[in-house]
Every structure is written in C-alpha cells, then in structure tokens.
C-alpha cells in the first residue's frame, strides 16, 4: 500500500512525498504517525468519527443527478457529489473532524491551521469549538481581504486569525507561518494541515479522512446506475477533494480521473496555479512533488481567481498519479470558471464554490463530446456563498 513507511510514493528510482522538515518537527511527525496508525484500526475512534460525520457534519452527502445541466450540455450524464451540503459548506470538515479528534486523543490542547479561501480555517475552527480545543488560524492578508466573510466566521467560532503579510500574502505563506508556529509550540500543538500536502504522514492521513467522498460515491452510483462512472472530475489546488474522490476508485482502471487545476489568466501568461501542468519537481512545505518554481529553485507567485486553488504546490500522490498516468490533469481559466459558476447557478439552482466551478467548467467541455450513456461524477467540493462578493465585483452584470 502506498505510501511506504518513509512516506514515499515510489516509482522506479524516484519518489514523491517524504519528510523534508526541520529536525524539531521530526519526532512530532513520528508521534503523529504512530497515533494515526493506532486510531486508524481502532474501532472506538472510528465509531466516534463516524458518529460526528453523520450526526454533526451531515454525511452521507447526496449524489445528485444534474438533469438540466446534462440536458443543456447534451452528452454524458452528469452527477454532482454534493460536498457543498456538508456542515460549514465544503468537504474540508471531513478532514478537520478526523484530525481534531485525533489531536484530542493525543492530548494536545491547541490546534493550528492555515487557510486560503477560508474553508479549511472555518472547518478547523468549527471542529475546535465542538471538541473544546483552542484554535488558531494563519491566513494571508490578500486572502483575508478577498474572503472577509470567512474571517468573521472563524472569529465567531472562537478562533484567533493571524494575518500573514510575508511573501505573496496567500496560502503558501500562511503554511510557512503555521509551520513556524508548530516548530515553536510542537509539544502542545497539533497542526491541522488542510490538504493532501506537507510532510508524511499528512498526505496519507488527509487522503484517508477525505476518502469517505469516494467510498460513498461508489456505493451511491452502484445503487443508482448499477455500474461505476466513466469519469471522476474534481478541482486540484493542494488536491484533497479530488484525492478523496479518486482514491477509492484507484483499482477500478476503467474509471478515468480528471484533476482540474487553476489556469488563471492562461498557462502561457504565467499567471496561474497549475503545478502539475507547468511545474517541475521540487521540495515545498515538507514534501517532494510538482512545484511552480524558477530555474534557481525559488517558488514563484501564483494566480487564481479562486483563493483555494492559489497554491504553487500539489499533494505528492497527485504527482504520483500523473507520473503513472492514472490521472489526467487539465487547466481551466478564471474566465471559464466564472462562466461555469453562473451556469450551475442558472441550470441547477446551485451556487458552487469558485474552486468547484473549475471542475464544472471542464465538464462543460467534456460532456458534449461523450455519448449519452457515459457517466461523469463531479465533486462539488464546496458552496459558493463565500465567493458571491468576489464574483459580483468581477461580473459587472450577470449574463
């Protein structure tokens, strides 16, 4: 099973993942891995997590046949996995409930997190409030501006939000600052990483907590259609919602995985966040993966209209999927995502998160090329309420 005990996703002589962190954190990572492996097989922990996922977060989320969207695009049948219906409005809660419960088991009174769009910050703040732990969240000042509503939500939930004004003032720098906090307070603090990124065991652990998305999808589609889907489509920033959907289908080779990255103003413009398509191998935030960097190994600024995808790295398991050709990674521009944002609102009465709108936008191109008997599942990873203000500023008038 992947990764191996070093956290390496191995291919021939090379690997992705690993643990590239300051020594101060190494024993904390070991402790985390030991505890995680313990609870992973512990009936009591899993039963408790299951209870919170169903009774608190509202799982299972429905798999909804988007009839009008299917009709409008005139091709494959489109299902939406409605993670936007989870408590707090995105898939992020699946992971934070797991990690904060684990932090409690480990006896850590304090949890910290980074956030880009604010969804993971809100989900961490929520879990911290519910389990009675102290929460603190790091957020870039640029993101604080574009996601003001989520900042207020975190504060309401009793979490302190630390603005991060260094570097590009976005998600990447929020992670740097969260790691600095963790290095300083490692004995009392658990760092709740929000995606399948970071040093081992995070990519594996976050994937496992998010795999509930794919497991449910599999059961639901079998019940609804009596067969597996042909395509799974999800957006990829760090890559947690897509990995959560893909992973349980890994062995089902007939199911195609498509990860949609933020192409921003177009990949040729240089203003994008498409690490898997335009990046090269590098080490960022504790693991070896595809990274957007210059020839000297400096991480370069990224751009996306969606704060949650605006990140110069990607989870190592996605790099592995790309390398072994298990998944295909494509790009969607800001404009295409904005159009899809409106399309879904107007055909299905669902306002998607700008992140998820990237997946919708790709399916808008893909579905018409496929036969009507083909099935696509889109992970609708979050709802768009948080983005309404941003979008209203960009679109002078709604089409």
């Amino acid at each position: 099973m992947l990764p191996d005990k070093h956290g390496h996703f191995k291919i021939k002589d090379n690997f992705f993942g690993g643990k590239f962190v300051p020594e101060t954190l190494m024993s904390a990572l070991e402790e985390l891995e030991i505890n995680y492996r313990k609870v992973k097989d512990a009936h009591e922990f899993q039963a408790q997590l299951d209870y919170y996922l169903t009774s608190y977060a509202g799982r299972p989320t429905v798999l909804y046949l988007a009839q009008r969207l299917t009709q409008k695009l005139g091709g494959a049948k489109i299902y939406l996995k409605r993670e936007d219906l989870c408590h707090t409005g995105a898939h992020k809660i699946n992971n934070t409930l797991g990690q904060v419960l684990l932090a409690k088991y480990m006896g850590k009174p304090r949890v910290i997190a980074e956030t880009g769009a604010g969804q993971h910050g809100v989900a961490t703040a929520t879990a911290a409030a519910m389990f009675g732990l102290q929460g603190e969240v790091y957020m870039g000042t640029e993101d604080i501006e574009r996601q003001a509503l989520n900042v207020f939500r975190m504060k309401l939930l009793g979490t302190k939000v630390h603005p991060v004004a260094s570097g590009s003032k976005t998600l990447k720098d929020a992670i740097n600052e969260a790691i600095r906090d963790w290095v300083t307070n490692v004995r009392t603090t658990h760092y709740v990483i929000g995606s399948v990124v970071g040093p081992h065991p995070y990519p594996m652990m976050v994937r496992d907590f998010q795999a509930i998305i794919g497991k449910e999808t599999k059961e639901q589609i079998l019940k609804l259609e009596g067969r597996l889907p042909d395509y799974l489509v999800a957006c990829v920033g760090g890559g947690s919602n897509s990995m959560g959907l893909f992973y349980p289908f890994f062995e089902d080779k007939a199911v195609n995985f498509i990860g949609v990255e933020a192409a921003g103003k177009g990949i040729d413009s240089g203003l994008h966040a498409a690490s898997l398509q335009a990046g090269s191998l590098g080490v960022l935030h504790g693991s070896l993966s595809y990274v957007l960097q210059n020839k000297d190994g400096q991480i370069i600024p990224t751009h996306s209209v969606s704060a949650g995808l605006d990140y110069p790295g990607v989870g190592p398991e996605h790099s592995y999927y790309k390398e072994i050709d298990r998944a295909e990674y494509v790009g969607i521009t800001d404009d295409e995502a904005l159009e899809a944002f409106q399309l879904l609102a107007q055909t299905e009465g669902i306002i998607p998160a700008l992140e998820s709108a990237h997946a919708i936008a790709y399916v808008k191109k893909l579905a018409p090329q496929l036969d009507k008997n083909k099935i696509i599942v889109i992970n609708l990873s979050g709802r768009g309420d948080k983005d309404v203000e941003t979008v209203s500023k960009i679109l002078k008038e709604v089409k």
Binding site: T24, D173, R180, R187, V283, G297
Partner: protein, 266 residues
Amino acid sequence: MTNRIDLKFDQLRKEGQKALITFITAGDPSLERTHELVLRLEKSGADIIELGVPFSDPLADGPVIQAASERALKNGTTLTRVLDLVKTLRQTTQVPIALLSYYNPIYKYGLTRFVKDAVDVGVDGVIIPDLPPEEADELKHKAESKNLAIIFLLAPTSTPERIRLISQASTGFIYYVSLTGITGIRKNLETTLEESIRQIRLITNKPIAVGFGISTREHVQTITKIADAAIVGSAIVNLIEQHEKDPGLVEIIGDFVARLSSGKSQ
C-alpha cells in the same frame, strides 16, 4: 584534501580553544558587501563562516532572516552567484565556509552538480535545515566521496534514537538547535541547554555547535563553556539591516563580532 572545518576544530581542540561561527545571508545588502563582510568576520575572530543562500520560503527562520532573504533575492542572489562569491573569496582566505540553504535550491541545481561545484569553488560544508538524514542518503553519498561536510541539526525535541542517528550522520560538526522554535534574537538561553549537550556528548565525540537565539557576548561565553562552538546569526543580520546603507557597515559588524569573539571560552 582534509576539510577546512575538520582542520579548524582539530586545531582549536589542540589549543584548548572554542569556536565562534557567524551567519550572514549572502547578497544582503549585496554580494560585494558580503565579500567584504566575510573577510572582516574572519579578522574579527569568526572561526567558521556560514553563508545563507536565500530562499523564497524559509520556514525555519524568524522575521530577521526572512527579511534578509527577501532583500538578497531582490538583489538577484542565486545559488550560482553564491558559489561564484566563494570562488572569489578563496583567492584571499582559507576560512572554513559552510553554506546554509533550504533543500529546494540545491535539489533544483542538481545534487551531483551541486556537490561538484561546491567543492570546486572551496565550500567546506552544507547545512540544510529542512533535510533530515532520512531523506539525505543520495546527497550524503555524493558528498562523502568529495569530502564535503553535511552538517545535520539536532533539536531539543530529538529523541535518543534520533540523537544517535544524527550524530552518526553528521560530518564537520553537529548543529544543536538551542530552543524549540525558529531563528531569531532571544534574551535568555534555555536552562536545559547544558543537560542536552551532555546527553549528546555521551554519544559522540564530534564537535557540537549551538545555534538559534544566541545574540550576545554573554551567550557566547555560556555556550562555549559547554559546547565546541557558538553560532550567531540573527543578531548580526539584524545589525546589517540597520546599517544597510551605512558606508561604515563593515566596521560596525566587525566591531560587534570582535566583541562576540572575546566571549569565547578558553
């Protein structure tokens, strides 16, 4: 050829002396100034020079060194240019030089090419704060054959197993991180420091250098009583920032380091 870091510690041990290691970020405020600064640091009593290679995401560093990295990157400092600087320095000085770089610039440069070029220009060792020995096999293997020291870090949170692993893996010296945290100026040293060093000493004979938070002559005095070397970084870098445009920058830094150096225990 014997590594200059090893030679330095051998010599100091024979003389019953301790070492002062000084850190500055290369290219801050400019590579020309860094050249002058290195020569002055040596003259002022620094036994080993740590040259920081700037990185866009220095996650083990506090605000002082973060800002220095940003300034150096703005000046166009790259790993290639830092290597060129060492090459030029070697025309006038044989002071031991270790590069401090995050892993990505080295990884991107290419491990084989890096080890070869670093040794060719006269670099003696490398400190990589985000590279634990578990991920360093390839680099260590390449460095060993060329006698380039790979200096690993130990922290207060390191378990006895890790102390053993790192003591064994580290060459040149062992870098003990004095506190649970990031780099920066601190008022007081950790009270548990002496006991921690004693624990490491039980396991290894390699030189132990203590860094993070060490910023005054008194700190240097305390540290060199219990370890082989004291490492000062942020306090010097902070002074460089304050006098960035001062024509007397090199003298100011020289005076400060001479003061630090006078604290070395005999």
